[in-house]
Symmetry: C2
Subunit: 343 residues, 2 copies
C-alpha cells in the first residue's frame, strides 16, 4: 500500500508529519508520498538523520499551503498548487491508495468532494469520529462536515458508519443508534422522526442493525457502536465531550496539587490516571475518516504529533484494504429515501 | 412569600418533597402549599414527627398523579385533579407566588403554558439550566423544552436568559453567547446565521451583551454567562455533559479501587474529590426555571432529595422577588424579529 501524506497540514507541519510518516514506513510497512514544499521536507528529513531519501518514501512538490484563515471552499480552487490539492489529485489519479492530512478540515472536505468525488449516489461525505466511552467506544457520524442534513443524508451516514464499524472496527452487525433528545420514537425534530422511520425500515429488511433513539449520556455508556446525527449536533456533542473532559481533568489537577497530602495521593494513583488520560487522548486513534468519498481520506487532528500521524497512516492502510467505497456502491440502492428528499 | 410545591412529583415523592418543603420553611423563611394526595402527605408529615400541621404549611388535596409514562400534553387535560394541574391552577389564581415541581417536565411545561400562560408576546417558554464549568458556571437556554425553534424564539431565549442571569445570578451585563459549531459569524445552519444577526443588532442597540458564537468546549471554560440554543441541541449538550462526567467519575473510581496503593491515594485526596463531585451535582442548585411563563415555575430534578427540593424552593423564592415576567413584559417590543418569523 502507498499512503499519500499532506506534509504541510496541521500545527506541527512539516516536522511531526514527516517524522510520523517515516515511523509508519517502518511500523506499518507502507510506502508514503510526502506532499508539500520539497525543500522544507528534505531539510526536515535531514534533521532526522536522513541525508538520502529513505526506502519507501517519495516527495511530490507542492509550493502552496492552505492556511487556517483561508476560506476552505475557495482555497481549493485558488491555491491549485497547495499540498492538499496536489495530494488529492494524486489520490484521484491512483498514485496512492489513501490520503492522510492534518490540514484544514473544510478544505480537505471540499477538495475531496471536488477532486476525488463522492461515491456515486452518496449525497454528502461525512466525518466519522471514534469516541471513547465506558465500553469499547462508538463511531459518531457526522461530527461536523454537514451542519444541515436531510433524512436521506442521515440514512446514508448510518450505512457508512455501519460498514466502517464492521470493516475497520471489526464489529459484527454494529448497533446503529440515532442521536436524539429522548429514547421514545416520538422524540426529536421532524428530521429525527423521519430518519427513525427510514432506519426502522432498513432494520426490518435486514440491512442495518438499528437500535433506536439514543441519548448522549447513554452513548457514553456504550449502548451503540455507531451514533448517527447531523453535523451541527455531532459537532456540539464532540466539543462538549472535549470541554467536559478537559474541565474535569484540570479540576482534578487542582485537587491533587492542593497540599502535600494530596500530592502524595496523586503519586500513588499516577499510573492509573495516565491510563485514563490516554483513553481520552485523540492522538491514539489518529484520524477521522471522511466517509462517502470514492477513495479513503483520513483527517488527522490539527495538533497531531508524529505518533498521531503514524496512527492515522496505519488507519489509512486498513481503510484502503477494507474498501468501504466499494461496499457503499454495492448497497447504494438501499440508501435512497424513495425520492422524498432527493436533491 | 408562599411557594406552591407539587408534593407528588419525582422519584422520591412524597417523602423527600415534604421533608424538603419543611426544611425550606425553616431555612428560607417561606410558607409552602403542599399539593397532592392529602392523606399521604399527612402520613409523611407524621413520620417526620409532625402530628399537627406545622406553621407555614398548608395542604391542598389533589387525587391524581401524572406518571412518567403518561403523555405530557394530554395528561394535563385528562387528569384535571393531578397535583401538577392543581398546583398550576393555584399559581394562576394567586394562591402562591411561585411553584416547584419534580414531576414530568413535559407535563409541567404544557400545563404552565396552558394554565398559567406565557408572558404576552413570548412565543415559547424555555428551560434554563445552570451548568457548572471551570469558571462560575453558565445558564443554558433552552435545554429541552422546544426541539424546533425559529430565530425569534432564540432571540427571546437570549433576553430571558440575560434577565435571569442579571436578577437571580447577580451578574451585571451578562455575556450572552450563541451555541454554534465554530466561532466565526458564518458558522452554523440558517437558524444560527439569522440569530447571530438579530443578536448583533440587539447588542448594537445596547439591549443585550452579545459576545458572539460560542463552541461547547469554550462554554465549559467560561467564555459566557448565558448560552442560547434550540432545545434539541441544548438537550444533547446537557446529556453529554452528564454522560462524560459520569463516565470519567466511574473510570476514576476504577483507578482508585485497583490496588491497596491506589486506595491509599484515594483516601488522601478524598476531600478534594468530594468537592469536585459536589460541583458537578445538580442537587445543589436545585431547579431549572421555566422562563417565559407569567409566574415563576421551577422544575426540580426528577431524582431530587429533600436537600434539592429545599434548594429549589429557595430559588423559587428569589425568582418570585425578582419578577422576571415583568422585565420580559417591559421589554417585549425589543424581542420581536420584525415580523420575519412571527407565527
Amino acid at each position: 500500500m502507498k499512503i499519500i501524506v499532506d506534509a504541510m497540514g496541521g500545527d506541527n507541519a512539516p516536522e511531526e508529519i514527516v517524522k510520523g510518516a517515516l515511523n509508519a514506513v517502518e511500523a506499518v510497512g507502507v510506502d508514503v508520498v510526502l506532499v508539500g514544499r520539497g525543500e522544507e521536507i528534505l531539510r526536515t528529513l535531514e534533521r532526522s538523520g536522513n541525508s538520502n531519501l529513505p526506502n519507501g518514501v517519495e516527495i511530490v512538490d507542492a509550493s502552496e499551503v492552505i492556511e487556517i484563515e483561508d476560506d476552505p471552499a475557495s482555497a481549493i480552487r485558488l491555491k491549485k498548487d497547495s499540498s492538499i490539492t496536489v495530494a488529492l489529485t494524486l489520490l484521484r489519479d491512483g498514485k496512492g491508495d489513501a490520503l492522510v492530512s492534518a490540514g484544514s478540515t473544510g478544505a480537505l472536505l471540499s477538495g475531496a468532494t471536488l477532486i476525488v468525488k463522492r461515491v456515486k449516489g452518496i449525497r454528502r461525505a461525512a466525518l466519522a469520529l471514534f469516541v471513547p466511552n465506558s465500553a469499547s467506544g462508538f463511531l459518531l457520524i457526522d461530527c461536523g462536515a454537514n451542519a444541515e442534513c436531510t433524512p436521506e443524508h442521515l440514512v446514508q451516514f448510518a450505512y457508512m458508519g455501519s460498514f466502517y464499524a464492521e470493516s475497520i472496527m471489526q464489529i459484527k452487525s454494529p448497533r446503529v443508534g440515532l442521536l436524539n433528545n429522548g429514547t421514545e420514537r416520538t422524540k426529536g425534530t421532524p428530521l429525527q422522526l423521519q430518519v427513525y422511520e427510514l432506519l426502522e425500515q432498513a432494520c426490518g429488511s435486514g440491512s442495518l442493525n438499528f437500535v433506536g433513539n439514543v441519548e448522549a449520556k447513554d452513548a457514553m455508556k456504550g449502548v451503540c457502536d455507531v451514533l448517527v446525527c447531523d453535523g451541527f449536533t455531532g459537532n456540539v456533542f464532540l466539543k462538549s465531550i472535549e470541554g467536559v473532559a478537559s474541565m474535569i481533568m484540570s479540576e482534578l489537577k487542582g485537587v491533587f496539587m492542593s497540599s502535600a497530602r494530596t500530592k502524595l495521593g496523586a503519586l500513588l494513583v499516577k499510573n492509573g490516571l495516565s491510563g485514563l488520560k490516554e483513553k481520552l487522548n485523540p492522538d491514539l486513534v489518529g484520524g477521522t475518516p471522511l466517509l462517502g468519498i470514492s477513495k479513503p481520506v483520513i483527517k488527522a487532528h490539527g495538533s497531531s504529533n508524529a505518533f498521531a500521524i503514524s496512527n492515522a497512516i496505519r488507519q489509512a492502510n486498513v481503510a484502503a484494504k477494507a474498501d468501504i467505497a466499494a461496499k457503499l456502491s454495492a448497497n447504494i440502492s438501499k440508501m435512497k429515501a424513495s425520492g422524498r428528499d432527493g436533491e
